[in-house]
């Protein structure tokens, strides 16, 4: 199923889709207000973008520097070329530790690798400890937003879910009450888990340390109680020096949720005595994207989600409509790199309005890349304009609406409309819109009469 179909389904519930749109717009608005309190905001974006350009241009060196320093500090480094290898590495660590129940904090990379179903298949219980992620985990759904996993759910739905899974009072929708129920439930899991998995927001090459940012404190509750901390890190999460963290931390929370900083920013350098820290450096298509000149910039992403909050399409169609681990504008330029065929409708799920590019804290030219992916999609599909215009002509003139217009006008106006309009475009247009009234003459005709 393609994005247009999914979007249409989402919009069939106008109250819910309106609520989804307004909720995410509210977050976009908070981001605006918060970014305006930082006079040097645009300079920070430029700095972050330039730092990431430097990273991508020197990635191998930085990865080796990071590894060297981390190892020296007592951290174990693993390298995984793809999702399968990442999952196998996690499993092998768990087997070594004789561990069959773990806790995991938010890591979109582990979603990308489909880690949870893999581990569950091998008899490991995985508890996602971010509240939003636990909620969608209970529902057997993926997160619909990379920062706000349960943004598509109303509290009534969560109340019903918790009544079923956590024995909360039926009908009690109070967010505080529900959160406390989750707190108690997750606390048991934290206290029992011997291995905790986290993601990585930033890995610092200069020091070999990595930073994990949360508001809930769930990443830390997991790792500080466990004996073994596994951190899954995309190779593009590297930054050169510790002081660069200032730039990124000033941008990240403000862009993501409109907060001036996340509650907890944990810097991991060495394990606590008697414990272990493992980092798994994952490629899974990142080196391939690095090789694509037009799309390389997408690797600068710091997974803030601002592009999703600002996207008028995302807000009105929901994260699931993209059928991609990372949805929204950034997902639509990352995912085609992984599977062009599967994600071929994503670059077209956009009006190219450019809002995403302007909110991106690392200045990824998202809307430009969406345009460029469109060119790749049609090339891969092997279509060309010539062959289609024949089909187009036939398709259009089957439409009853077209007979209200002079053939000449229709032919002239519509002969330049391509591809996606081959299936009775006038009928599609006309579902909920009127066509413009037909003038008695075109401008060209008027000009020739009145000016020439």
């Amino acid at each position: 199923m393609s994005h247009p179909h999914e979007a249409a389904e989402f919009l069939k519930d106008p109250a819910k889709s309106k609520w989804h749109d307004e909720t995410l717009w509210f977050i976009r608005d908070k981001r605006d207000k918060m970014s305006h309190t930082v006079p040097e905001w645009e300079e920070l974006r430029e700095l972050a973008s330039t730092i990431k350009d430097n990273v991508l241009g020197n990635l191998a060196d930085y990865l080796e520097e990071f590894e060297r320093n981390a190892v020296e500090n007592g951290i174990q480094i693993h390298w995984a070329k793809d999702a399968e290898e990442h999952n196998e590495i996690v499993l092998s660590i768990l087997r070594k530790k004789d561990c069959t129940a773990i806790v995991k904090s938010k890591s979109i990379l582990t979603e990308e690798c489909h880690l949870n179903p893999f581990l569950e298949k091998h008899g490991v219980e995985v508890v996602d400890t971010d509240l939003g992620e636990r909620i969608v985990q209970f529902l057997n759904q993926p997160p619909s937003h990379i920062v706000l996993p349960a943004i598509h759910l109303k509290k009534r739905e969560i109340s019903e879910l918790f009544h079923e899974k956590l024995n909360t009072e039926k009908g009690n929708e109070d967010p505080y009450y529900l959160t406390q129920a989750a707190r108690h439930h997750l606390r048991e899991k934290f206290l029992a888990a011997k291995v905790a998995i986290t993601g990585v927001n930033f890995g610092v090459a200069e020091t070999g340390e990595f930073v994990v940012c949360t508001n809930e404190g769930n990443a830390d509750m997991g790792v500080h109680l466990a004996d073994t901390h596994i951190a899954s890190m995309g190779i593009e999460k590297i930054i050169p020096e510790r002081k660069h963290l200032a730039v990124f931390l000033r941008l990240l929370a403000r862009s993501a949720t409109g907060q001036n900083i996340t509650n907890y920013n944990s810097h991991f350098r060495s394990p606590e005595k008697g414990k272990e820290i493992h980092i798994i450096l994952v490629d899974n298509g990142r080196t391939a994207q690095l090789g694509r000149e037009n799309f390389r910039n997408s690797l600068k992403c710091i997974r803030c989600g601002a592009c999703m909050n600002t996207c008028p399409i995302y807000r009105r169609s929901g994260g699931f409509s993209y059928k991609s681990t990372v949805p929204g504008p950034i997902g639509s330029i990352l995912s085609p790199g992984l599977d062009l065929k599967k994600h071929s409708s994503l670059p077209f799920a956009s009006t190219l309005c450019g809002s995403c590019t302007d909110v991106c804290p690392v200045k990824i030219n998202i809307h430009e890349q969406l345009y460029l992916w469109r060119q790749e999609v049609t090339k891969a599909q092997g279509t060309s304009l010539k062959g289609l215009s024949m089909k187009m002509g036939n398709g259009i003139f089957k439409s009853p609406l077209s007979y209200n217009y002079s053939g000449k006008i229709m032919r002239l106006a519509l002969k330049n409309l391509p591809t996606s309009m081959i299936y009775n475009p006038l009928n599609v247009w006309g579902k909920q819109r009127d066509l413009p009234p037909v003038p008695k003459e075109s401008f060209k005709e008027w000009y020739q009469k009145n000016r020439k």
Binding site: L47, P175, L225, R250, N263, F268
Partner: protein, 186 residues
């Protein structure tokens, strides 16, 4: 070829242009640091109170199990520092000393030596961080300058109590970590 070699080779073969690292200007803020810090803590749903007010709170029996690393409040400690982090599962109040605070966002820096056990600021039900009022820096830039090359195994910027808005964007204070952050500036 190991995956490591494979990945590094795939990157190196691209021979990408090396773009330079930019210089970061010395951004500051044009406000009184204490005022701004106070406002930041407040907007993060933290609380700033005086030492006297804190003592009053503790003495009124609000927190049965207390652990303090701060000498000013050492008398209130009634829990020994355990070997095993799990032992603090019922800790009601932890009082820690922060190294410095960041005015622009209320973030406070603590390292292993300040925490004693990394789990403490998270597992405790309520958290107090004591801070010297002269140890405030304007922005994260000065913060990292201040941290410099310090090589603690763990460092934390904490800026507020644990919170979430995952249930229909309603802000709830007290998700998985401490339910409050009380800052005492002395």
């Amino acid at each position: 070829m190991s995956s490591r070699e494979h990945i590094l080779e795939k990157i190196r073969v691209l021979k990408l242009d090396q773009k330079p690292i930019p210089t970061i200007p010395d951004f500051g803020i044009n406000e009184d640091l204490q005022e701004r810090f106070r406002a930041s803590i407040s907007s993060n749903k933290g609380e700033m109170i005086t030492a006297e007010a804190l003592i009053f709170k503790i003495e009124s029996g609000l927190f049965p199990n207390v652990f303090s690393t701060v000498s000013d409040f050492a008398d209130f400690t009634n829990q020994p520092l355990p070997e095993d982090s799990h032992a603090f599962a019922n800790l009601d109040l932890a009082i820690l000393r922060g190294q410095f605070g960041v005015a622009e966002n209320g973030a406070i820096w603590l390292e292993d030596a300040d925490l004693k056990l990394r789990v403490i600021p998270f597992i405790t039900e309520h958290l107090v961080v004591v801070l010297d009022k002269n140890e405030l820096v304007p922005t994260m830039h000065q913060a990292y300058d201040r941290i410099g090359n310090a090589a603690s195994g763990f460092g934390l910027f904490i800026a507020g109590p644990s919170k979430t808005a995952d249930i229909e964007q309603s802000l709830v204070i007290g998700a998985q970590g401490a339910k409050s952050l009380i800052v005492v500036l002395i």
